[in-house]
Amino acid sequence: MKRSLLKEIIIIVSVSVFLGFTMNIISPNKIPLIQDYSSRHQIDSASSDKQKPVRQFTKEGFVKPVNVKIQDVKKMFDEGAVFIDGRPPEEFATGHIKGAINIPYKEFKDKTVEQKLEILKAYDKEKPIVSYCGGTECEISIDNAYEMAKAGYNELKIYLGGYKEWNELGYPTEK
């Protein structure tokens, strides 16, 4: 009895593994078996150096957004960089970095490149744009930055500390 149950499980799992890998090979949306996710949260140490960091490109050919330290974020804020908040409007309304613009990731990601460019047309493609969201556990800041970089914006910076850290440091906010 136990042996037949084990046999059933082995058959089911084998069929699923076979289907999964086969379909992944033939699928147009296939994903690599192993992917490095760790770099998503790595702060680019060169970003605070005096010299301008060299631009890195992604496989898809757009300029890779850079994770920046809080000191650099504050500097960019003081220099008048554009801040983009990717949270839903309800969350944005409860408080955000002073002067930030709300571009909710959820809606933004599904827009066409033309629509994205229309939304971003007021901003310079070669000047820093800081993308942020709620805080460290919030991935929207990264995803939103990549969406904008894909649309052709070359100076995307990601502020992982987000509104939470900014607010705790007592930096300028507004509602």
């Binding site: 058959i11 089911i12 379909m23």
Partner: protein
């Protein structure tokens, strides 16, 4: 508790659990990249396993669900569904407790990176777990059933 052994009652349970699993895996099958991201957001699995998990998991859901509905390998598929549901409940609970801003990756994938109603999903999974448990214990091996009769 005789109705628990009623074959129509068990069939309905199988349809509910199987149907939910097929519905749940559909979005993941079509967009494994997003599903991988949803798993990543849980910060639960080591990075090297994330994509393999995202590749196999939706098919395991599909195969167990189809087998459960068709009545093939009922014990094996219900036991695997029980294990999957326990994994889902544990990861949802830890995500809820840690207050992660994640999508649960449970059903549709359009809500990735957005808070979804994690508590509701946990309750749902607990119901499914109960139903699957009944299916498992009532799907006795054929030989044993014959002896009882």
């Amino acid at each position: 508790m005789n109705f628990l052994s009623n074959k129509y009652f068990l069939l309905i349970l199988r349809l509910i659990v199987g149907g939910t699993f097929i519905y749940a895996c559909a979005g993941k099958l079509l967009n494994q990249e997003l599903f991988a991201r949803a798993i990543y957001n849980y910060k639960f699995l080591p990075d090297v396993f994330i994509n393999i998990f995202a590749i196999v998991m939706p098919y395991l859901e599909l195969v167990t669900a189809v087998f459960l509905i068709l009545g093939i390998f009922k014990r094996g598929s219900s036991l695997l569904i029980i294990v999957m549901l326990i994994v889902f409940i544990v990861s949802l609970t830890q995500a809820y407790a840690r207050g992660l801003d994640i999508s649960c990756g449970c059903f549709s994938l359009e809500t990735v990176s957005e808070k979804s109603d994690i508590l509701l999903r946990i309750v749902e999974d607990i119901f499914l777990l109960g139903a699957t448990f009944i299916i498992f214990i009532k799907s006795k091996p054929i030989i044993k059933q014959e002896i009882q009769q």
